[in-house]
Amino acid sequence: MAVCIAVIAKENYPLYIRSVPTQNELKFHYTVHTSLDVVEEKISAAGKAMADQRELYLGLLYPTEDYKVYGYVTNSKVKFVIVVDSSNTSLRDNEIRSMFRKLHNSFTDVMCNPFYNPGDPVQSKVFEGMVSGMMVQVS
């Protein structure tokens, strides 16, 4: 269960960012912003390595003392960042991958919506519903 989910456009501005409401929501925005550097590093490192199969899933970007940050980049250079609680029972890699898969599928549907202009903030209710399903439930 994620604590914060963000979708970042090719030009590195957020298309959608949502976190479980706590006192310091700004901290999550900052965490996501700093994780972008790590994402760039991973993309260029994979490019130089000239691996045959470059995966879209980037894996654990970096751990802080409270949170772990995972990244995923699509072929259209849109980045997804998920922040999970470290104290949570360690989520297996497969679960994180499936969360990214669902995000990617939903984002593709948003992209194909003729009323959506690429580059605008994502306002689709279906997308929001899917993200709510993945976030930590707050009573």
Partner: protein
């Protein structure tokens, strides 16, 4: 199955609709109006190309370089949209690529020779936009132009 021709017919109607719209407001089409029609069709293709690429590259791994992306366009993208592959791809390795299709699906119904050659560009505008939108979503800024010398074969040249 009849689904293959559905898009062909829709495209023909789209082109004639855009031209009719322009004509109804002016009465006679001059070259500036024709340019407007072409850019409307190209704009439509652009948006569709972006969405299509998002869907098609969902499962494939990242592209290594520009040439890889062009090969994807020539093979997978062209097959999905036009049910065949590009026949010939040439490049000068400095950013210009020429894609040649010897039997372009949207032109086969028009003629197979020199007849209606002047009308061909109208029917290529949407496809140019399609390629431009696809490339733009993959991260490549480009200019896409198409030319027809002998129907139904056409060449598209893009400069990235």
């Amino acid at each position: 199955m009849a689904d293959e021709v559905l898009f062909d017919f829709l495209h023909m109607e789209m082109v004639s609709h855009v031209y009719k719209e322009q004509r109804s407001s002016k009465g006679e089409l001059d070259s500036k109006d024709r340019a407007v029609c072409v850019s409307i069709l190209e704009g439509m293709g652009f948006r569709v190309g972006q969405g299509l690429i998002e869907r098609m590259t969902r499962d494939s791994p990242s592209f290594k370089d520009e040439l890889d992306m062009m090969k994807f366009i020539c093979k997978d993208f062209w097959t999905q949209v036009f049910r065949k592959q590009i026949d010939n791809l040439r490049t000068n390795h400095q950013g210009t690529y020429v894609l040649q299709d010897n039997k372009f699906v949207l032109l086969t119904q028009l003629s197979s020779g020199k007849q209606y050659l002047e009308e061909a560009p109208k029917y290529l505008a949407y496809s140019c936009g399609l390629v431009r939108g696809a490339l733009s979503n993959l991260g490549l800024e480009s200019v896409v132009t198409a030319e027809v010398s002998l129907m139904p074969s056409c060449e598209s040249c893009n400069i990235a």
